[in-house]
């Protein structure tokens, strides 16, 4: 029988998909809904769920599936558990689910059934999917689905989300069950078979054990055989030394891949959008519209898409690592180190990926279970020297190392990275003792079995992350780019680029802010450069190039950007980039929050403006103070002569 659309609403029946973590729930969900699912943030939390539409093969029936986050119990004080409770109570979008699909791992039935019992107590039609049946059926002591179904009082369907076996039967069961009238005899009978609501965990476990024993015809195994090889692998991967070495090696490979592979599409995107901007300029008559389209919109879209290759690659590889079971072990290996700074082992990956770009880094903090750990990690991730700082480092260190030994530049580069990482860890340390005070939760984590990662799952996760980024952060970044263009293009002047820079709103802001940066030795030109780069720090180099280029006259054409900028002069004729100023600017760029896209992503991931504001305020403060100190030190070092 086919489920009728819910009377009066015309919407397809909604089915909540629940299960323990690591039961292959999402794989099964993907199998049922494919890439048509959309990601949705549950109200009032940062937990994400996915909503997909499932059509039975004959196309008759349509179901709306809600993939709820995996949780070990419905009674836990975690965001995942809370979201599941709220969804079952009908507090998600004001629509109560019409049925439940409980996904259990049939290789680990007893624990999974304890959770299933909690779920089945809700007065909703339900189907239990015995996932990973392809593995379970080959093992001795395999449960009989028909008997289990009798014991649980609801349909039990053996399936394999990986191979797709049994999905057709699941289809039929879901179809049938959503057509059941509410409060039918079958539902009442089911409730009587279950342990009472709020039962103690040991009672639940006993009940689950009894059910499994009574529905396993061949008798169950009381103990799992010891797998010594697996023990050894686990010991090595969580070892304080070996584990860190293995982790460092895998991360080095991961980020080498990201840096090397992502560079090609990133350059390509730059090229395409650069060409497109020129083409737009050429095609449209001189004027505001052409400028807006070319420098605001086209460049803005390019500025969004340029982040995509890194985000996609990071999430693809990270999902593979997580899926194969390695990430959980690695988290234990680094946990000991990260704990000293008040972060958890899982914070390491977001912080490391922030060295490529803080955006995917912050997005990947979803791996971290503890909310305080996660916020602390988001807060300090932008301190890591991302690749956008690279051109600025090249420019400023280039200026600094003129007339110095060759090793100086190398040391300065390493110093910048070390300074960023140290500031980040120190900030995390401070944050965990002030804003995010609370015990560092010791790690307790399931170590999922090792298995071949699913490329399909990884591709779907990547697609998900990429589309969330483009939709949410992307629109924000685009808007910022247009505002940014407007600030630097208005009010219009007839003069050259330099005059335009100086008299634009951005230039005026620079003049306004100049007194604040005077203690760092910044003149108004440098202040304009810093101000414009508050939105995106890589702008600094181009701004300085424009300022330097138009100031140097016609013969500057052959000089490199570095020489041009290095020879810039203040109003009184002394060089802008004397040693203390350059050092101060460099330190400022290492530490300052000069990336609006990051703030946009932080807002999205933390669900409000509070954390981006704290992030911005704290980082600017630290950067300013450190730059001041650097200026003073460098002045003392060079005897004040520059």
């Amino acid at each position: 029988m086919s489920p009728a659309p819910q009377a009066g609403t015309g919407r397809p029946p909604r089915i909540a998909v629940l299960g323990n973590p690591n039961t292959g729930k999402t794989t099964l969900f993907n199998r049922l809904c494919g890439a048509r699912a959309r990601t949705a943030n549950f109200p009032g939390s940062t937990v994400e769920g996915r909503i997909g539409t499932h059509r039975s093969p004959d196309g008759r029936a349509e179901l709306e599936l809600v993939d709820l986050p995996g949780t070990y119990s419905l009674a836990l004080d975690t965001p995942e558990s809370q979201v599941c409770r709220e969804c079952l109570a009908g507090e998600f979008g004001g629509i109560a689910p019409d049925a439940m699909l409980v996904v259990v791992d049939s290789t680990n039935l007893r624990r999974n059934l304890g959770f299933a019992a909690q779920v089945l107590l809700h007065r909703l039609p339900a189907v239990v999917a015995l996932n990973m049946w392809d593995v379970a059926r080959t093992r001795p002591g395999c449960v009989d689905p028909a008997e289990l179904s009798r014991r649980l009082g609801c349909p039990v369907v053996p399936v394999s989300g990986r191979s797709g076996d049994g999905v057709a039967a699941l289809d039929v069961a879901l179809d049938t069950v959503t057509g059941l009238p509410f409060g039918s005899d079958a539902l009442v009978a089911r409730l009587q078979k279950l342990p009472p609501a709020g039962a103690a965990p040991s009672l639940l476990a006993e009940w689950a054990d009894a059910v499994v024993r009574s529905s396993t015809p061949g008798g169950i195994r009381t103990d799992e055989p010891a797998d010594r090889l697996l023990d050894r692998v686990d010991i090595a991967l969580t070892h304080p030394f070996l584990g860190i070495v293995a982790f460092a090696a895998s991360m080095a490979a991961l980020f080498a891949a990201i840096f090397l592979v992502a560079q090609v599409p990133m350059d390509l995107i730059d090229l395409v959008f650069g060409t497109a901007a020129e083409a737009v300029h050429a095609a449209l008559p001189q004027g505001i519209l052409g400028d807006l389209l070319a420098e605001g919109v086209v460049a803005g879209i390019g500025g969004v898409l340029v982040f995509l290759p890194q985000i996609c690659l990071l999430f693809f590889l990270l999902t593979l690592l997580e899926d194969c079971g390695y990430l959980a072990r690695a988290a234990f290996a680094v946990d000991r180190v990260m704990r000293r700074f008040g972060l958890s082992g899982l914070s390491f990956i977001p912080l490391l990926s922030s060295h490529a770009c803080a955006l995917p880094g912050i997005m990947s903090t979803r791996l971290i279970r503890d909310e305080r750990d996660r916020l602390a990690t988001i807060l300090v991730a932008p301190f890591m020297s991302c690749s956008a700082r690279m051109p600025v480092y090249v420019l400023l260190i280039g200026i600094l190392s003129v007339g110095r030994p060759a090793w100086f530049a190398g040391v300065a580069f390493a110093g910048c990275y070390a300074l960023g990482a140290a500031a980040g860890l120190a900030s995390a340390f401070v944050a965990r003792r002030t804003l995010l005070r609370g015990p560092v939760r010791p790690m307790v984590m399931e170590l999922p079995p090792y298995r071949w990662p699913s490329l399909r799952t990884a591709a779907l996760v990547t697609w998900d992350r990429a589309s969330v980024f483009v939709r949410n952060a992307g629109t924000m970044i685009l808007a910022i780019s247009v505002v940014m263009w407007w600030l630097s293009a208005f009010p219009r002047t007839d003069g050259d680029a330099r005059a335009q820079q100086a008299s634009s709103f951005a230039g005026q802001l620079g003049d306004l802010a100049q007194p604040a940066f005077a203690p760092l030795g910044f003149d108004s030109q440098l202040t304009v450069g810093v101000m414009t780069s508050f939105l995106a720090r890589e702008v600094f180099v181009s701004t300085m190039a424009v300022l330097a280029g138009s100031g140097a006259g016609a013969d500057a054409g052959d000089a490199t950007v570095l020489e041009q900028v290095g020879s810039m002069a203040r109003a009184d004729g002394t060089p802008v980039f004397d040693v203390p100023t350059t050092a101060a600017a460099l330190v400022f760029f290492v530490l300052a929050m000069q990336c609006l896209p990051t703030l946009a992503v932080t807002r999205r991931e933390t669900g409000g403006w509070k954390w981006p504001a704290i992030q911005f305020g704290w980082m600017t403060l630290v950067a300013y103070a450190a730059a001041l100190a650097a200026h003073a030190l460098a002045t003392a070092w060079t005897g004040g002569s520059g």
Binding site: T71, Y72, S73, A75, L76, D77, T78, T107, N108, R110, R111, G114, F115, P201, S202, L204, A205, E206, W207, D209, A210, V211, R213, S214, T222, D223, E224, A226, R228, L230, D231, D234, I235, T238, H239, P240, A328, R329, F332, A333, D335, R336, P439, R441, P442, M443, V444, M445, E446, L447, P448, P449
Partner: protein, 193 residues
């Protein structure tokens, strides 16, 4: 046992229900008692006791189990964790009723040690009755992950990260938590070299 005490704890079947059932249905063999609310079809612990009740009834005695419900439940928990039955003292001549001097209420309590003190490969039974050193949230999570009272664990790694296996689940537990989990080692499962 009192009449209202449970014989089959899995399906919550009391001694009274079984006695009434036998009076009403007059089962010819003990296994027919499973028709009484599924008694004995769960963990199987009560099967010998059902046989005993049936035998008592056949002999015309008033069926009653000579054991306190607390002791009965405790032994069942042990049985479910270890899979072995400790005999229960009672009149001779019946299954599992052989008097055993080793088993009585004054038996020494099993030694409990922190999980971190087990050797690799050793098996143990978890005692969650005193997980007091842990915050509530942590305790609930551990329970829900499968580390509930009287479950059997095998130690896969005894290093600074404790890895235990409960059935087919592997849990990584940092030592701060692991040293607060008390377990009773199971004899004869000493660690691997």
């Amino acid at each position: 046992m009192e009449d209202d005490d449970l014989v089959c704890l899995c399906f919550r079947v009391s001694q009274r229900k079984l006695v009434n059932y036998m009076a009403r249905e007059r089962p010819r063999v003990a296994s027919q008692l499973s028709e009484c609310l599924g008694a004995g079809t769960g963990c199987q612990w009560c099967v010998p006791f059902l046989r005993r009740l049936h035998a008592q009834w056949e002999r015309g005695e008033r069926p009653d189990l000579p054991v306190s419900p607390e002791e009965y439940a405790r032994r069942r928990t042990r049985y479910r964790a270890t899979g072995t039955r400790e005999p229960i003292a009672g009149p001779a001549g019946e299954e599992y009723d052989r008097p055993s001097p080793a088993v009585n209420d004054h038996a020494p309590k099993p030694v409990r040690i922190p999980l971190t003190q087990l050797a690799r490969g050793q098996r143990a039974v978890v005692d969650c009755s005193e997980l007091t050193g842990l915050p509530e949230g942590e305790r609930c999570l551990l329970h829900a992950m499968g580390l509930h009272d009287q479950c059997q664990v095998r130690v896969c790694s005894a290093g600074s990260t404790c890895i235990v296996q409960i059935e087919s689940t592997r849990l990584g537990i940092s030592s701060e938590v692991a040293r607060r989990i008390l377990v009773t080692p199971i004899e004869g499962t000493d660690g691997a070299p």
